[in-house]
């Protein structure tokens, strides 16, 4: 069973603010989902390797070269930022 405290803690880790009502609701729903996945504990997986991707390749390499991007695409990407100045993305001071 996941506690209210734990819900608050992970919401903080995930940078999501919850109202007290949402905390209660998510606590209940997460508990029910976690209860459902409990089933996985029945299996002995001590000798099993984990799968991260269902593809059969590893170490996809290429030459360490830079490719010039289309300056218009760059411009448009910066334009998509909610706050910007002179081609830079603006944010709140962190210090």
């Amino acid at each position: 069973m996941i506690s209210r405290e734990e819900v608050r803690h992970i919401a903080n880790l995930a940078r999501i603010k919850l109202t007290p009502k949402e905390e209660r609701k998510f606590q209940k729903e997460l508990a029910s989902i976690l209860d459902y996945v409990e089933k996985l504990k029945k299996l002995d997986v001590s000798k099993i390797e984990p799968t991260t991707h269902a593809v059969w390749v590893e170490n996809v390499l290429r030459k360490d070269q830079s490719f010039p991007a289309d300056p218009k695409v760059r411009e448009k990407m910066v334009e998509m930022a909610p706050d910007q100045e002179q081609g830079w993305i603006k944010t709140k001071a962190i210090l």
Partner: protein
Amino acid sequence: MIPSNLTIARAHQGLIKKEFSAVELCQAFLDKIKKEDKKIGAFLTLNENQALLEARKIDDLISQKREIPILAGIPLAIKDNILVKDLRATAGSRILENYIAPYSATVIKKLKSQGAIILGKTNLDEFAMGSSGENSGFFKTKNPRDLSRVPGGSSSGSAAAVTADFCCAALGSDTGGSIRLPASFCGIVGLKPTYGAVSRYGLIAMASSLDQIGPLSKTVEDSEILFGAISGKDPQDSTSLDPKIFKPPKEKKPEAFKIGLPKEYFIGGLKKEIKEILDFTIKKLKDFGLKIEEISLPHTEYALPTYYIIVPSEVSANLARYDGIKYGRSKVKEKIKNLIEVYFKTRQQYLGEEPRRRILLGSFALSSGYYEAYYLRAQKVRTLIGKDFERAFKKVDLILTPTSPTPAFKIGEKQDPLAMYLSDIFLVAVNLAGLPAISLPVSKEGLPIGVQFIAPPFLESRLFKIGKILEKI
């Protein structure tokens, strides 16, 4: 007059035989969308002017008697989590309500290189999280076959657009059934390709180790045409693969295919209408001369719990980027002192309930003290699920299952998140194992129901072969 229910193949014939022009074809779909989409809600954005402009170019080519590719002038709909340059891409989320794609996804570049026409962007469950189409941040899409029911999700708008005849075909994405479930609920064909067969570059990521783009179409032939157009290795997606690295087995005639029925999929009993349609399909295949045998996929019951650890974990990482700084809706310009408060308030206001639920679940499964018990364990069970299929495909060429445990349900019927997750019970194992699978419509009357065929990696060709047989018999 443009004939109704045009497939890609039929529309191509119409264009080259000059039964109608590309502009007329495009206009006919746009008119129909404008007239009828209010009650269905398939589209989030229409691309009217650009679509007509591009159709005109195709007409020029035709009038110059130039040979045109099969997709030239063909109007398609695109799920709104796939980027089309200069068009809005919301992924069904309010947080991306104002986001204009600065570049196109690789699949879009490939379609456009053939001259395909993008009619617009279709609705979806927010960030492709949902099984019904009800989780969109904008509005619910309805099932064109019965407006009181859901179309299935998360590629809800793409499935509805194909079913309502708003386009020839559409692209969707499938992380745990998001192409196949709506295809089943709407009575159309939906293909989830092998993981790595289609580039994910320009697909807004949900769960990166599972997401694949694929076609929703009126026929198996169209599914094959679109898959052929969008697949292939892409240097922009290091998980995309050249199918040639697999030595394809010597293919038998489709009449000699052996089909496996996994017994675990039938434990606990199926709903009567699903069982009937499956028995009917099995009988037809047997009459055609195909061999059907029972197989076992012993870890089937663990697929959905595994999926609901792995997906939220990847979601919590992928959605960290929606912080109100780089793009999308934001609180950064409001009078807030700290950067961290910008994150908190932006994500609280603009991310919907299901994305937040999955972010929380994933953050929990990955957090210190729980990582091994949940995430690592799920990844190990994922290995076992993959091995089940490997073993099964030593005995049979294809696996047959129902696509969904029920036909399309009523809008508002499933309020509990876990009950909604169970809609994908027959579908998620395929994504965990990275396999290709297709949902084919089999019911001729009543609410549509699909059956699913699963093939070994990179053998989509087998799915098309069996699909064409089933269309005929």
